[in-house]
């Protein structure tokens, strides 16, 4: 039986860290906030691992099906009988998996930041924000009530805002954090409306009950939900689609992806934690959580999910091939991989063999967290050494950053899908699921995996090979002002605190593939046997290796072959380099359309009509009082006249009229 206290402690320990360091960090824990935050999170991670062990191996299974448990539930706000916002814990294969992923990656980031953010002025604030984020994300995955999930969803958005804007004296960082928050908030409107529709249709906000009512074929709720239509689609479809919009915003799917590259303005460990491994997969988690509802909607919302995922994957891969900022490349790579996870869910059905996509998506989430966090942390080590984000300033660093080099290579091989690293297994399952259900998406995914290998190794070769690197002494002389890494004298790779997480994550990236994921996580809880298809795997692996060699040909030695290729694809290259001008389109729509057509009239209305009414009330009162105050003129004779007339009128009234 799940132990509610232990499970509740998992998110509450980072919350305690947030409160402690947030309130008292500046005064008392200036140097030790890192240790405190890391210690709390170590405890949280151990508890999460223990919970996972207990759930998957001891009590979770009943008759071969993994059960959902609700160890704790408390009614927080009751709207009416049966509809209430509860705060509680939901234990389920994917929530336990996410507990492990989130707490482990967060722990790695905490340890890494001990070295990376050393000497930072607002060190305690950083760790308190990390604690807030970890708490919010853990609360999100443990949420048993859809509104509780929404609350934590917003909290995660706030933490992201705080962390992206950590360097608040940089205007670009401020703009980026605003953009992230506004875009995700805009998507969350869809999420909220979707929640309301779904809860209205099913009459409850409690997740297990909601799913059960909306998916059992003969329940009343599903009949009414399907019967009421709006513009040709049933209420259920609308609800699911709107919820997906919210998820798409948070997961940076096309076209709501514009905030993710800009979010790289935050410190690199933050990018590793939030914008690679945990927060951006919240959308995928949401779709997985509500998967039974999604799979039952007709026409299929899952088709929309699949296509949005596929389009995001390929667009991001194309753009990543042209970018020169390390973190931007990794950001687009993240978007592409999340696209993989999304369309894997999109091509899946509920239950049995058809549910392969679901398992594959979750497996890829797991492995992606490992190698993407590793990639970002290595990038952080490189940036820490070179003091610049731009690939042009890097080259030949394999001599000076050996550990970073090896771990980065492992991560790149993993993401390219080379066996026996973790990415191969998860990607192969995704491709298999796509092949079985939607051939068009399969071809897109195959092409994208080739591109993935290409741009990741472009990055690898440009950083660690290409041109010979200057010595550390020369390196420190070339430090760019205003770059993210702040540090003084010539230094080497980074201390133990920075290297340990790299090694641990590399072990994860290498070995995680061998976990028989289908045994644990599947769409309906029953174990899914995932076989290794040798013939099928040849195509993606061959494509991946071809991509690696292409990148090697272009980038291993210094040459201008890449520039010639870019010149020959001129128009397309320029469009890709400018991210297909999507940001400019948004800006145009906002400025020309929204501000002028909606904003200005609304402002006019507010200033003149609403304020005008208030002012009118004031002015009217004043005018009336000006008129009335003349009664008290101070002149005795006027008072006497009022008196006399009053008496005569009253006398007449009483004598003649009210006889």
């Amino acid at each position: 039986m799940p132990n509610a206290t232990i499970i509740a402690l998992i998110p509450l320990l980072p919350l305690a860290g947030f409160l402690l360091l947030g309130l008292f960090g500046r005064k008392f824990f200036k140097k030790s906030s890192g240790i405190i935050g890391t210690a709390l999170l170590l405890a949280s991670t151990l508890l999460a691992l223990y919970t996972a062990y207990e759930y998957f191996f001891i009590y979770g299974k009943a008759d071969g099906v993994y059960q959902q448990f609700v160890p704790f539930q408390m009614t927080w706000l009751e709207f009416s009988k049966g509809v209430s916002i509860d705060m509680g814990l939901l234990i389920d294969p994917i929530s336990v998996m996410m507990l492990v992923v989130v707490s482990f990656v967060s722990l790695m980031v905490h340890i890494y930041s001990l070295g990376y953010m050393k000497g930072e002025e607002r060190f305690p604030a950083y760790y308190s924000f990390l604690g807030l984020f970890t708490f919010s994300m853990l609360g999100l995955v443990l949420a048993g009530n859809i509104f509780q999930m929404y609350i934590f969803w917003e909290l995660v958005g706030v933490s992201s805002f705080l962390l992206i804007g950590y360097y608040y004296d940089k205007p670009s960082a401020v703009a980026a954090c605003k953009k992230a928050f506004i875009v995700t908030r805009f998507a969350d409107v869809g999420f909220l409306i979707g929640i309301l529709i779904l809860s209205f249709c099913s009459g409850t906000l409690d997740l297990p009950t909601l799913i059960q009512r909306l998916t059992s074929p003969d329940s009343n709720e599903i009949k009414t939900a399907v019967a009421s239509t709006f513009l040709g689609a049933s209420a259920l479809t609308w609800g699911a689609a709107l919820v997906f919009i919210g998820g798409a915003g948070k997961s940076a799917m096309f076209p709501l992806h514009i905030w993710l590259p800009d979010a790289m303005e935050g410190p690199t460990p933050v990018s590793a934690l939030i914008h690679a491994a945990t927060m951006v997969v919240a959308g995928v988690y949401l779709v997985a959580r509500l998967f039974p509802v999604f799979s039952i909607t007709t026409p299929g919302v899952l088709e929309i999910v699949g296509w949005v995922g596929a389009i995001s994957a390929i667009i991001a891969a194309i753009i990543a091939c042209t970018q020169t900022d390390i973190k931007r490349v990794l950001a687009y790579s993240t978007m592409s991989q999340i696209g993989y996870m999304m369309f894997a869910l999109g091509v899946s059905t509920y239950g049995g063999e058809g549910g392969l996509g679901y398992t594959a998506s979750m497996f890829h989430l797991f492995t992606h967290a490992m190698f993407k966090a590793l990639l970002f942390l290595c990038a952080g080590a490189v940036i820490h050494y070179v003091h610049s984000n731009d690939m042009k300033d890097m080259g030949g660093l394999r001599k000076y950053l050996p550990i970073t080099h090896i771990t980065f290579l492992i991560a790149c091989l993993a993401i390219a899908g080379v066996p026996p690293f973790a990415g191969f297994f998860s990607k192969e399952e995704i491709l298999l699921a796509a092949y079985q259900n939607n051939m068009a998406i399969y071809w897109i995914a195959l092409f994208t995996s080739g591109l993935t290998a290409f741009y990741m190794f472009r990055l690898y070769f440009t950083i660690f090979w290409n041109k010979p690197a200057p010595s550390p002494l020369e390196q420190s002389g070339k430090r760019k002002i205003g770059s993210e890494a702040r540090g003084g004298e010539a230094h080497g790779e980074g201390g133990f605190a920075m290297m340990l997480p790299l090694v641990l994550l590399a072990i994860g990236a290498a070995a995680a593939g061998f976990i028989p994921f289908g045994e644990f996580v599947s769409s309906d809880g029953k174990a899914l046997e995932t076989k290794f298809h040798l013939v099928f795997s040849i195509a993606p692996v061959a494509l991946g290796i071809a991509g690696i060699f292409t990148a090697m040909w272009f980038y291993k030695k210094q040459n201008n072959k890449s520039d010639k290729l870019a010149a020959s694809l001129n128009g397309f290259y320029k469009a890709a380099y400018h991210k297909f001008y999507i940001d400019e389109i948004y800006l145009y729509i906002t400025k020309k359309v929204l501000f002028n057509l909606v904003g200005k009239p609304a402002a006019w209305f507010d200033r003149n009509v609403v304020d005008g009414m208030v002012n009118l009330t004031g002015a009217a009162t004043q005018a009336i009082s000006e008129a009335i105050k003349k009664i008290q003129s101070g002149k005795v004779q006027q008072y006497a006249i009022y008196f006399l007339v009053g008496v005569i009128v009253l006398a007449t009234l009483f004598i003649y009229i009210l006889r």
């Binding site: 008290q632 003129s633 101070g634 002149k635 004779q637 006249i641």
Partner: protein
């Protein structure tokens, strides 16, 4: 012409009263307002005496009321004059239009 009865006296009394009221409302000078008040008081006195004579000849209550009203009117006139003099000292004028200090 008729024999003067109670109604005649009441007529004179009412007429004098309302003449005094008109004077009070119209005059701009404080002293002339005081004179109008004296007219009003006198009309009341006449009223009392008439009622005493024609309705209650066996009692003298109306007479005594008149006596006391005369006494009180004298005292009140004296106090009013004192106030007028005080006002004249501060405002240098006894125009009632200038005495509007208790305005809004």
């Amino acid at each position: 012409m008729m024999e003067p009865g109670l109604n005649h006296f009441l007529f004179i009394s009412a007429a004098l009263f309302f003449i005094g009221v008109y004077g009070f409302l119209t005059r701009r000078n404080l002293i002339t307002m005081l004179m109008s008040i004296e007219l009003i008081l006198n009309s009341v006195n006449l009223n009392f005496i008439a009622f005493n004579k024609y309705l209650w000849p066996g009692k003298m209550d109306g007479l005594f009321f008149t006596l006391f009203i005369i006494a009180i009117a004298a005292a009140e006139a004296a106090v009013a004059i004192a106030i007028i003099i005080n006002l004249y000292r501060s405002h240098q004028s006894i125009d009632v239009e200038n005495a509007e200090d208790l305005k809004y």
